[in-house]
């Protein structure tokens, strides 16, 4: 075991896979010589050569299009899109090509591409460096969508993604790259070294896709969250003293309905939390699923806490960000409802 922050854990996952599987290649903007703007691929080109860790032109559609061709030719490409906010030029290649190649060719062709991309706000990134577009991808049949909330899961889930035969869009909440963030920007940063999930095996291990995890057991209400919001939800629970159960969704698609609904059926109350905008957001899918499965166990209307339905505003980040106070208010509301 070693102490790792999330960037080191991701780097370790790619290192392990480059070592184990000659088919694995890394490509993306600045990922080679420089090691990535967030340092996730640091040292990998030096170790594995420039045919396996490739710097690319600034062209997300080209990166993903080329990765699909590489995948179809037997490689396992791991493409980095520098910010999730920049993924849209590659959207057609993801939605129309990557997600459907296996289906449209009845299994004769496929491209096992993993797309890593930092997402989320809280870093003063404004509207072009803060987005959480997971719902856009969750809506696409044929890709798996993942968002880890800690270094251990980040490494284990990334290895599972690369080893799998299906395309994966792997969102990395960049606000928690260096440490868990409880939603209060004025507090001093906490490093991952003080967190149990900052303890990560150095070698190969996996965390399975499609499995959520209960990160805090509780009796009164279930909070369904993922990414940075898992930690913000924990802060809100501490704030209110409500005995909430927090479920880290981890894999957005395919969704682990059983773990989520077992929790909600037990507690009878549910708050859904995400950074992304509310309308048509992934929370709507969670709420609908919970309603279908747990309706007769519900004691109160389900609450959603999400980013406001505006673009991400630079100057009003902390009014926009669904922080502990808003989650706490939702928790109190579901507890008051009868």
């Amino acid at each position: 075991m070693a102490r790792m922050n999330m960037v080191q854990a991701l780097n370790s996952a790619m290192d392990v896979m480059l070592q184990r599987d000659p088919r694995v290649v890394i490509l993306g903007e600045d990922v080679g010589f420089f090691g990535g703007v967030f340092r996730a691929t640091e040292g990998l080109q030096r170790k594995y050569g420039e045919h396996r860790v490739l710097d690319t032109p600034i062209a997300e559609g080209g990166i993903i299009g080329a990765a699909i061709g590489m995948g179809a030719n037997g490689l396992k490409p791991v493409a980095e899109i520098q910010f999730a906010d920049y993924i849209y030029p590659g959207f057609d290649q993801i939605v129309s090509e990557l997600a459907r190649l296996r289906y449209r060719s009845a299994g004769e062709f496929s491209a096992p591409v993993t797309i890593r991309t930092p997402c989320g706000g809280g870093i003063r990134g404004g509207q072009t460096h803060s987005q959480s577009p997971e719902a856009l991808f969750a809506h696409v049949c044929g890709i798996k969508v993942v968002m880890p909330s800690n270094p251990y899961d980040a490494k284990g889930l990334l290895i599972s993604s690369i080893e799998g035969e299906d395309p994966v869009v792997f969102f990395e909440p960049k606000r928690i790259y260096n440490g868990p963030f409880d939603g209060d920007p004025h507090k001093p940063a906490i490093p991952w070294s003080s967190h149990p999930r900052g303890e990560v095996p150095e070698g190969h291990f996996t965390v399975p896709l499609g499995k959520a995890q209960v990160v805090r057991e509780g009796r009164d209400v279930s909070v369904l969250a993922y990414g940075t919001m898992v930690h913000v939800a924990e802060a809100a629970v501490r704030l209110t003293g409500i005995d909430a159960e927090i479920v880290d969704v981890r894999t957005i698609a395919p969704l682990d309905v059983d773990t989520l609904c077992t929790s909600v059926c037990k507690t009878g109350r549910c708050v859904v939390v995400h950074e992304a905008t509310r309308f048509g957001g992934y929370g709507a899918e969670l709420v609908a699923t919970v309603q279908e499965q747990c309706f007769w166990n519900l004691e109160a209307p389900i609450q959603r806490v999400a980013g406001w339905d505006t673009p991400y505003p630079h100057a009003f980040e902390w009014e926009y960000f669904p922080g502990p106070a808003r989650i706490a208010a939702a928790l109190k509301l579901v507890m008051e409802s009868t």
């Binding site: 080209g62 296996r102 004769e108 395919p254 309905v257």
Partner: protein
Amino acid sequence: MSPRSRLHVPSPPARPGQEPDFSYVQISPAGAVGRPDVMASARDTEELSLQMVRVLGDDNRAVGPWNPHLEPEELQVGLRHMLLTRLFDDRMQKIQRQGRISFYIKSTGEEAVAVAAGMALTPGDMLFPSYRQQGLHVVRGRNLVDLMCQCLSNTHDMCKGRQMPIMYHWGSGNIFSISGNLATQFPQAVGWAMAAAIKGEDRIAASWIGEGSSAEADFHYAMNFAGVYQAPVILNLVNNQWAISTFQGFAGGEHKTFAQRGPGYGIPGIRIDGNDFLAVYAVTQWAAQRARQSGGPTLIEHVTYRTAAHSTSDDPSRYRPKEEWRAWPLGDPVERLKAHLIALGEWSEERHARLEKELEAHVTACWKEAESYGTLSGGPSLDPLTMFEDVFKEMPPNLARERDELRALQDSGVAARPASTPLAQKG
């Protein structure tokens, strides 16, 4: 008066009712364009993007440095493939008009672009076609029954009923799956070629794109990636003058040749007579040799004409002169190769008629067999429950639940399959 800006909105030289005018097509005499060494620097090939490589002259003789000196038997095989492609297209169009398939796209007049290029490559090379290169399947010996079954979405459909007609693929034949989204195959072909180089193979990739869809960003991605990494790939741009109703000027063809885009990316751009079987063969061979020797990619602009409608859903008489194809200055690829073989004393009208009859009968027999595997209106049909397969390698729980839901609906009679599926008109 102060100057003011004005838009230039391109307009084709002739609209319905007007005289066809192809004076804008710059044509070099056959044999006039030099053939550089296959490893020549891209800079030294720039002239090729402005001229037009032609081998077959007006006297039906092969001339000049690009003459590939093919044996008569090879030429006869090429003629056979092109003719079979044409007869297959004609039959499928008729079948669509009879309502027996929902949609079709012909390649009439452009057969050489696929057939000659396909013949100049080796079977291990990976092909990424657009939807108008069915000749590639013919060259590689695909059973026409397979293609017909795909168009019928029947029990032998390679796509298991998931794609509209003509979106073929062939894993063991190294022909990639056709997408309905334009241009996406271009950067994929480059990525495939990059992987071949990373793995140290000598296989190369080739892709085809229309001049119209070269306006998509994917064309730029592909050219840039191919040029940057010097990937072993042949990028074919089929300039058939028309993208549904918009003529090639809307893709930028009024100002520069499409081949001229090659040098802009450090890639040789070669403009060729796309209806000249020998020119297509020779230039493809040149580009393939170059790619295999780490010389990098080549852009080939095939100047040709879309004699057919865009698709069975299109009516070109609404936007171009009805008989425009007759005025096309580069003639017809099948007729020109036929005339060349006759000029060589290796073919005759009688043999041609005999071949045509033989191929017609072959197509008829194939269609008969294809229909026995099911049609849109009857016979054996695919199990709709297979629609849940192949979304992922393993079926996730949500899809298994949906499959069970549909099965239950079928079992209860709610979702019984109608005896005849109505045909929808598709773009």
